[in-house]
Symmetry: C2
Subunit: 223 residues, 2 copies
Amino acid sequence: MWQLYHFPLCPFSRKVQLALSEKKVPFALRLAYPWEDDEDFHRRNPAGKTPVLYQEERRLTLADSQAICEYFEETESKSPLLPGSAQARAEIRRLVALFDDALYNGVTAPLLHEKMKKRLFLRQSPDSRVLRQATRVLHDHLDYIDFLVDHNRWLGGAQLSLADFAAAAQLSVIDYLDCLEWSDHSSARNWYRVMKSRPSFAPLLTQKMEGLPPPRHYADVNA
Amino acid sequence: MWQLYHFPLCPFSRKVQLALSEKKVPFALRLAYPWEDDEDFHRRNPAGKTPVLYQEERRLTLADSQAICEYFEETESKSPLLPGSAQARAEIRRLVALFDDALYNGVTAPLLHEKMKKRLFLRQSPDSRVLRQATRVLHDHLDYIDFLVDHNRWLGGAQLSLADFAAAAQLSVIDYLDCLEWSDHSSARNWYRVMKSRPSFAPLLTQKMEGLPPPRHYADVNA
C-alpha cells in the first residue's frame, strides 16, 4: 500500500490526496512536518517538502506533487486528470502551475506563515498588512476562476481536470485559515461548492492541524 | 513558425529553448520583459511570466515552461526529454521541479534581483549578505549534482533528460551573473562542460542582456 507523507495544511499533499482518491488508488497517511527532523522523510525527499509517496514493498518513492500526479496519470487510466488533446493537456498544466505557483506563493504561503506558523511556533500575532496583501491577490485569483468557469464548465475546459483539484486544494487551506472571502465571486463559489461535495474531498474536511481548529463553516459542504 | 517570448536571463525560457532545439523544433525569439507593459505578452499569459510560446497561424498559445516541455514530449517523439518507465519519468520530473523551484528560488532569483534588477533598474549595489546566502545554497545544489552524476551518467538516470536541461538552464544564468563557483565540485563541473558544448546550448551563450555584459569565460565552452 502507498504511504503518503503529508501534513494537514499542505496544499500540495491535498492535491495528491484528491488525485489518488479520484483514481481510486488506496493510500495511508503518514504525518511529516517538513520543518521537523524526520530522517526517513528527509531521506526520501532531499527537497524536504511534502508530499512524498512511497511503497516499501516495491522500494518506490515519488516526490513532488506534479510528478506524483503525472505518474498516476500514466499508470492508472481511471478518471483522467489531464483529459483531451496535447493542447488541452498543456492548458490544464498551465493552470496547475499557475495555482501551484502564483496562488500558493501569493496567498496560501503567506497565510500559512501568518496564521499557522506564527500562532503555533513563533507565538506572534499575524501582520495585518501581509494578510491584506494576500487577500488582494486572492481576489485576483477568484476573478480569474470566475472567468474560467463562466467560459467553460470546469477550470481547464469542458471536463473536470487536475486544474480543478490544484485550485481547490489551495482554496481549502485558505478556507481552513478562515481567509476565503467570496464577496461577489459567485461563479467561483458555486464551482468550489461542487468540488467540496465530491467524495474525494470529504477526507480533507476532517483532517485537522493540532492546535489550530478550522472555522465552523469549513466542513459544511453547503457553506 | 513558433514564436518564443523570452528575455535573455530567464532560466525557464532557456530550459524551453534547450528542449525545442534538442527536438529540432524551429522557433523565433521575441523579447518580453515581464515587468514591462507588453499587452500581447500579458494577454497570452495572465501569469505574466516568460516563457510563452505561440503560433499565430494555429491560434495556439502555450505558457509555463513545464507545460511547454510536456507538450513537445507528447507531440514530438524525437530526442525524448522524459525517457524510460513511468517510475524513471517521475524521477526526472522530481528533479526538474527541484531545479525549477528550489535552485531558482534559492539561488537564481535572488542573484537576478541583486545583480540584474538592482544594477539595471534600481541603481543600487547588491546586498552582500544575500549574495553569500545564495552562494551557500548553490553549493548545496552543486553537491547534489555531484552526487547524481557520480551515481548515474546524467542527472535523471542513465540517459540525458529534461532534468539536465532544467539544471543547466539555471546554472547558465548563474554563470552569466559571474556567480558560478565550482571549487571542488569536479563532477558537476565536468557534467556542465558537456552540457555547455551541446549544439542546443550554443545560442544561449550568445544571448546578451543589454547593459549587463557576461564575464569573459561565460561563452567559452572549455571554461
